[in-house]
Symmetry: C2
Subunit: 223 residues, 2 copies
């Protein structure tokens, strides 16, 4: 039974305080795992609580016993997913010792590795973020705000120092994230259009870890 690392760590931490051996996954965790799997794959509206219960190997009533409602369970998963999604990028952005170009390489590599493991995540986030305007938007803002300031400042500094030409931060972010994330978001349609199978897709994504930074560098030299 494979678990997200974060869960395992929590379990181990709990276990440490009582026993030495890591115990079986708790019912609550099993439900969360099942919910994350289905919500992430099919979205809120298309996922039925019955399916989550079945996937978790427990009864429907138990789901409500632990989480009170479908919406509350979803909110938890949504927030976890979003944090997980930007967590990969956060550490890299804050690295004071890295230049912009080094950061791009680290971010692209980390993200492609991450998305290879969680290919459904970005589409889920883009999707569920569109319907809920101000619901969880605030929490997201809190997570993102300091990162924005940091990145803007570094871009401005690099531009002032003449290291890179002035580029609008929006274009910069859209391009880095777009080149990295889009192939995963559009995977089904891209594979169809280009006749690329699953194995070849994986290989191409590995290639992009090297290519995206080179491409971005070349783009920064434009105009």
């Amino acid at each position: 039974m494979s678990l997200p690392l974060s869960y395992k760590l929590i379990l181990m931490a709990k276990a440490k305080t009582k026993k030495i051996v890591v115990e079986e996954t708790s019912t609550e965790e099993k439900i969360k795992e099942a919910a994350k799997k289905l919500f992430t794959r099919k979205g809120f509206a298309a996922t039925r609580t019955r399916d989550i219960a079945e996937e978790a190997g427990i009864n429907l009533a138990l789901l409500n016993y632990y989480f009170r409602s479908k919406q509350k369970l979803f909110d938890i998963i949504m927030l976890e997913n979003f944090k997980q999604f930007i967590q990969g990028i956060t550490v890299k952005v804050y690295d004071e010792t890295a230049t912009i170009e080094e950061k791009i390489e680290k971010i692209a590599t980390a993200y492609i590795d991450f998305l290879t493991l969680h290919p459904d995540l970005p589409l889920f986030i883009l999707n569920e973020l569109r319907g809920n305007p101000s619901d969880i938007a605030e929490k997201i803002n809190e997570e993102v705000a300091p990162m924005r300031l940091h990145l803007m400042k570094q871009l401005q500094n690099a531009s002032n120092a003449g290291k890179i030409p002035a580029i609008d931060p929006f274009h910069f972010v859209a391009n880095v994230i777009g080149l990295t994330v889009f192939p995963f978001v559009a995977k089904p349609i891209l594979q169809r259009v280009t006749s690329v199978g699953d194995d070849r897709f994986q290989t191409l994504m590995q290639e992009r870890k090297k290519l995206v930074p080179l491409w971005i560098k070349a783009m920064l030299a434009v105009k």
Copy 2:
């Protein structure tokens, strides 16, 4: 009451055979318009037939009278949306007189204009395409197959002639479409991260009509 151009043309064609004056939108068209609006914005599962009926200004029973079921109505909208989405690109790709670089510019411009008018379309397609594996996949293949051959051939020729370096068609397509479409797909999150309002977003998208072709050209020179 603003109608999609295609509808207007159909109506005008019909009208030509009988009367001179273009008549009011038919009930069937009104339902389809309402369905397209809601399905595209919220997806299949989150859209209720009641809402479609209300949006169309008719009764719920009438929806089933015309389309028999929610699923059948959705399938029609889905196919129309998809055709509309790739239709913009199709003409440009087949233009025998244009070089690869000219095509990129035409495609980027046409797509950004199109997406400005229909910002919800790409996310809708990416989304609903993920759940339905082989359902409408075949019809999509039929639409896309000849375009794939044409594009691959031109890329190969340009590469052989030494005009551009060899690049995997997958990377090429992913990059062009990614740089063009991704900002619209990720609009809410990108706006949040970069503190960009709606007006500024529109301006930036207009900028990209010029920038994307330049960027792609610069990327093609890499390595």
